[in-house]
C-alpha cells in the first residue's frame, strides 16, 4: 500500500518540536491555522490574510473545514465544494469535507479500482470510518498537508506558496490540532500511525507552520484565547505566532468629552440626546474594550495585533480587504 509518505521529496522532515527557529513572518510560512472560538471573525481574518498574501504575489489557498462556505460566499462565488477554485489573482479557495477527504485518501492509498469501488459501496467501511474517533479530523488534516506539498499527490495539483486554514471553532480547547497526536497514540501500528505522527510533526513545525488565534475584546473570548494558547503549547507543542484582537472600537472621545456628552444627554431631548447617548455608549464600550485588550496582552505570550471594528452593515469582501491592510 502506498502511503502519503511514499515517494517524492518530503515537505518535512523536521526535528521534533522545534521552538528555537528564528522568527519568521506569519505569511512567509507554508501553512497557517487561524483558530479561535465561534463568532470572533475567524473567516474574515483568514480571508484577509489570504488577500494580503495574494497581493504580495504568493499563490495562496484559503481552506474552510466542513463549513457552510462563508469564504467563497464572501467572493460572491457559488459554492466551491471540494475543489480548488480561483477567487482572485493568486487566491484560491476550497471547502474541505471530511467524507471527501476520506474518499481521496482511500483513492491515494489503493491503486486497484475494483477494491476502491467495493470499499466506497461498503456500508461497513463507511461505518468504521465514521465510528473511529478522530479519523475524519485526521484525514481532513491529511488533506491540508497534501495541499501544502510542493509535490502534490493529487493529479495536476497546483502548487501553493501558502495554505491558510480557517480552523473549526474551538468549542472545547484544541481538538482539531491535537487529533494527529491523539491518533498516533491510539493506533499504535499501521500506516495511519506513521501518517498521524507525520501530521503531528507538520503541525509542530514552527518554521513552516504558523498558528494565529482570533479573539474579541470581551471577557470570555479573552479567557478562551489565553487558555487556547496554553493548551496548544502544553498539549500539542505549538507556540502561537500571533493573536488578533478583532473588532476594536476607535477611541473617539476623551473622558473629559464624555463628561460633556453626559451633561448634554441630561439637558437635551430628541436627536441631540440620542446622539449624545450613542457617543457615551461608544466611549464606555471603547474603554471596556481597552481593558480587555490590556488583559489579553498580559495573559498571552504571543504578540497581539489589533484589528478595528468596521462600521459596515455586512462584513463581506470589502471588510476583509480593509483588514488585509492590517493583518500582515
Amino acid at each position: 500500500m502506498r502511503g502519503y509518505s511514499h515517494g517524492g521529496p518530503l515537505f518535512l522532515p523536521v526535528p521534533e518540536i522545534a521552538r528555537n527557529y528564528p522568527v519568521t513572518d506569519l505569511l512567509d510560512k507554508r501553512l497557517v491555522f487561524v483558530t479561535g472560538k465561534g463568532g470572533v471573525g475567524k473567516t474574515t481574518v483568514a480571508v484577509a490574510l489570504g488577500l494580503r498574501a495574494a497581493a504580495e504575489g504568493k499563490r495562496t489557498i484559503v481552506c474552510e473545514i466542513a463549513a457552510q462556505e462563508n469564504a467563497s460566499r464572501m467572493f460572491a462565488h457559488t459554492e466551491v465544494g471540494f475543489h480548488e477554485v480561483e477567487m482572485e489573482e493568486n487566491l484560491w479557495s476550497i471547502s474541505i469535507d471530511p467524507d471527501e477527504s476520506m474518499r481521496e485518501y482511500v483513492l491515494l492509498q489503493l491503486k486497484v479500482r475494483a477494491i476502491r469501488d467495493m470499499l466506497f459501496r461498503s456500508r461497513i467501511f463507511n461505518y468504521l470510518a465514521a465510528a473511529t474517533p478522530g479519523l475524519k479530523e485526521l484525514v481532513t488534516i491529511g488533506k491540508i498537508w497534501e495541499l501544502a506539498q510542493l509535490d502534490r499527490k493529487v493529479k495536476q495539483g497546483r502548487k501553493y506558496d501558502l495554505v491558510i486554514v480557517d480552523a473549526p471553532a474551538t468549542g472545547h480547547g484544541i481538538g482539531f490540532l491535537q487529533t494527529p497526536r491523539t491518533f498516533a497514540n491510539i493506533a499504535r501500528v499501521g500506516p495511519i500511525h506513521s501518517q498521524a505522527q507525520q501530521l503531528d510533526r507538520l503541525i509542530t513545525d514552527k518554521k513552516h507552520t504558523g498558528v494565529a488565534i482570533v479573539s474579541l475584546p470581551e471577557e470570555m473570548p479573552v479567557n478562551e484565547s489565553a487558555s487556547l494558547e496554553a493548551d496548544l503549547r502544553d498539549e500539542v507543542g505549538v507556540a502561537v505566532d500571533r493573536v488578533y484582537m478583532n473588532g476594536l472600537y476607535p477611541e473617539r472621545f476623551s473622558n473629559e468629552e464624555a463628561g460633556r456628552l453626559a451633561a448634554l444627554a441630561d439637558a437635551e431631548s430628541g436627536a441631540a440626546r440620542a446622539a449624545a447617548r450613542a457617543g457615551l455608549s461608544e466611549h464606555n464600550r471603547a474603554r471596556s474594550q481597552r481593558s480587555q485588550l490590556a488583559r489579553l496582552r498580559r495573559r498571552v505570550e504571543a504578540p497581539v495585533k489589533t484589528l478595528p471594528f468596521l462600521f459596515e452593515p455586512d462584513l463581506g469582501l470589502e471588510g476583509a480587504r480593509e483588514l488585509s491592510q492590517r493583518v500582515g
Binding site: 463568532g39 461498503s122 467501511f125 491523539t182 491510539i186 501500528v189 437635551e268 462600521f311
Partner: protein, 383 residues
C-alpha cells in the same frame, strides 16, 4: 408581543440553541434567573460559562450536580428571587460514566466499558457526545422532578444543527449494528454481508492498524449488553424533547450570518417537529426614531449646544455609524421574523459593557422579560 416569561409559561424545559459566540450562556443564565425571580424553582445547566459569570453565580467549585445560587447575590442587584435558582456545570464525561454504570448489568461489564480506550475517546472527545450527554442530564433531572423549570445552555457547536443530530449519531454508533454483523464471521450475517465486508475489514485493518480494530471490537463486545437500555433511553429522551412542555428558544446575533443560521435552525426544528418558542437576538443596535426628523440639522445643532465644532462632528459621525448598524439590524430582524413567521422576536440591545456578571444579567433581564413596547422605552433610557 410577549416576553420570555409569557413564552415559558407552563413549560418544564427551555432549550437555548444557536451557533457559537451569540451569547447563549449569558441568555440561559438570565432566563433562569428571571423565571426564578417569578417564583419558580429553576435549574440552569450550562456547559462552558464565562469564568467571571461562573464565579458570581458561585459555580466555581461545582461538579456534575446542581447547586443553589445564593439569592442574596441577586438582591444586591435589585432582583428578588421569589423561587429558587440552581445551576450546574455539565461534565459530559462524568455523565456518560454514570449512564454506563446505570445501564451495565454488573460491575465487571461497567469496568470493561470504562477502561476501554475507544470508550474513553468517545466519552470525552467524540463529536456529539457532549450534546448527547447534555440531553441525557436534562432527561435525568426532569425524571427526578425536583425542578419546575430546566434551562439548558446547549454546547458550542459551529453549526447549531449538530445539536439535534448528536443523540442519533451516537446511539447509532453504540448500536454498532453493521460492525457486529462482521465481528462474528461464522454467523449467517457474515454470509449475507459477503466478500465486500471482508475486503472492507481487511483494508480498514491495514489502514488504521490492527490495535485500533481490536479496541473497537472490545468496545462493542463490552457494550453489547447495554445497547437495548441505551436505545430505550434515547427514545425517551427524544420524546421529552418533542413534548409540548418543552420549548426551544433560538438565540442569535443581529448580523447576516447568525440570522441565516437561526433561520436554518428554526427550519430544522420544524422539520423534526420540535416545539419552537421564540427567538432572542442579542447585541442589537436599537434605532433612534428621532433622527429621521432632525438628521440634517443634527451636526449644526450639536455644535451650537456643545460649543465645539470638532467634538460635534465626531459625535455626529459616531451617531451616523451607530444608525447604519441599527438599520442593518432592523433589516436582518425583519427578515428573521418573516422567515420564522413569528412576531416573537425578543431584541436585547448591545450594552455598554460586555455581560459577564450579575449586574449584566439583571440588565439583560429587564429586556428579556419586558413587552416589546417596554423594551423600546428602556433602550431609549426613558424607563
Amino acid at each position: 408581543m410577549p416576553g420570555v416569561g409569557e413564552i415559558l409559561d407552563g413549560k418544564d424545559i427551555c432549550i437555548c440553541a444557536g451557533s457559537g459566540g451569540v451569547g447563549k450562556t449569558t441568555t440561559s443564565a438570565a432566563i433562569a434567573a428571571g423565571m426564578a425571580a417569578r417564583g419558580l424553582k429553576v435549574c440552569v445547566l450550562t456547559i462552558d460559562p464565562a469564568k467571571r459569570l461562573a464565579d458570581s453565580l458561585g459555580l466555581k467549585e461545582l461538579g456534575n450536580e446542581a447547586k443553589q445560587v445564593d439569592p442574596a447575590l441577586f438582591e444586591q442587584q435589585g432582583v428578588e428571587i421569589q423561587g429558587e435558582l440552581w445551576a450546574m456545570m455539565l461534565d459530559a464525561k462524568a455523565t456518560f460514566d454514570e449512564l454506563v454504570a446505570r445501564q451495565a448489568p454488573d460491575e465487571e461489564a461497567r469496568d470493561r466499558v470504562l477502561d476501554n480506550r475507544i470508550y474513553q475517546q468517545i466519552s470525552s472527545a467524540l463529536a456529539g457526545s457532549q450534546e448527547y450527554m447534555a440531553m441525557e442530564k436534562l432527561f435525568e433531572l426532569h425524571s427526578e422532578g425536583q425542578f419546575d423549570l430546566l434551562v439548558l445552555d446547549t454546547p458550542p457547536t459551529r453549526n447549531a444543527l449538530d445539536f439535534l443530530d448528536a443523540p442519533k449519531r451516537l446511539t447509532q454508533f453504540i448500536e454498532g449494528r453493521s460492525l457486529r454483523v462482521f465481528m462474528k464471521p461464522t454467523g449467517l450475517a457474515a454470509k449475507v454481508a459477503g466478500r465486500g465486508a471482508s475486503v472492507a475489514l481487511s483494508v480498514f485493518k491495514r489502514i488504521v492498524g490492527f490495535d485500533l480494530l481490536a479496541d473497537l471490537a472490545e468496545f462493542f463486545n463490552a457494550f453489547s449488553g447495554m445497547v437495548d437500555g441505551f436505545q430505550a433511553r434515547a427514545k425517551r429522551v427524544n420524546s421529552l424533547l418533542s413534548d409540548p412542555h418543552t420549548c426551544f428558544l433560538v438565540v442569535c446575533g443581529p448580523q447576516g450570518e447568525p440570522v441565516d443560521e437561526a433561520v436554518y435552525f428554526h427550519r430544522k426544528l420544524v422539520e423534526a417537529k420540535l416545539p419552537f418558542g421564540g427567538v432572542i437576538v442579542n447585541k442589537v443596535h436599537y434605532p433612534a426614531e428621532e433622527l429621521r426628523d432632525e438628521g440634517a440639522e443634527l451636526a449644526a445643532s450639536l455644535e451650537e449646544k456643545l460649543g465645539d465644532a470638532d467634538l460635534a462632528a465626531r459625535v455626529a459621525e459616531n451617531f451616523a455609524d451607530y444608525q447604519a448598524l441599527a438599520e442593518r439590524d432592523a433589516r436582518n430582524i425583519k427578515r428573521l421574523a418573516r422567515e420564522l413567521r413569528t412576531r416573537g422576536v425578543i431584541r436585547v440591545p448591545i450594552l455598554d459593557e460586555d455581560v459577564h456578571d450579575l449586574a449584566g444579567l439583571a440588565e439583560i433581564n429587564r429586556y428579556l422579560f419586558a413587552s416589546n413596547e417596554e423594551r423600546i422605552e428602556i433602550a431609549a433610557g426613558r424607563a
